[in-house]
Symmetry: C2
Subunit: 84 residues, 2 copies
C-alpha cells in the first residue's frame, strides 16, 4: 500500500528563530504591521510504501527521529494517510 | 482579534526538488527503502491581528503573493484560524 506522510519540523519554543524574525521584519517593511510573530519551519511530503497504516506511522516516526528533525532543537509532527 | 496563519510553501510540480532528492537519498542510505518520493517545502506559522477572519485571510493571501512564496516556482497554501 502507498501512504502519504506530511511532516512539519519547527524549532522548539525558546530556540532563537532567526529566519522567522527576518521574515517578520520584511513583512513589517512591506506594510504588514499586523504581523506579531513568525515561526519558521520545514514541511516535507513523503510517499512511502508500507503494509498497513500502523507500520507507515511507525516508520514515519522513526525517520523523523533519525534524520528529518534534530530532536535537540526541533519539534517533529506528522500525519499519515492512505494514497498519494 | 488575533489569528493564527499556517502557511505551506512547496515547489511547483516539475521544478527540480534537490533538497527533497537529497533527503530521499539519505533516508535510503539509512535503510528506509520504502521511501518513494520526498517533496520539500517551508512551513510558517504567523500570529497576526485583524478585525475579522475575512480580513485575516485576505492579508495572509497577499503576504504569500508578495513575500513568502515565489509564485513562479512555488505553490502557496494557507489556513487561518482564530486564536494564537
Amino acid at each position: 500500500m502507498e501512504y502519504q506522510v506530511k511532516a512539519y519540523i519547527t524549532l522548539k519554543p525558546g530556540i532563537l528563530d532567526i529566519q522567522g524574525e527576518t521574515i517578520k521584519g520584511a513583512l513589517h517593511s512591506l506594510g504588514y504591521l499586523e504581523v506579531e510573530k513568525v515561526h519558521s519551519g520545514k514541511f516535507l511530503k513523503l510517499k512511502i510504501a508500507a503494509d498497513n497504516l500502523k507500520t507507515a506511522k511507525e516508520r514515519a516516526a522513526k525517520m523523523g527521529e533519525e534524520l528529518l528533525a534534530n530532536p535537540i532543537i526541533e519539534d517533529y509532527k506528522f500525519e499519515v494517510k492512505e494514497g498519494n
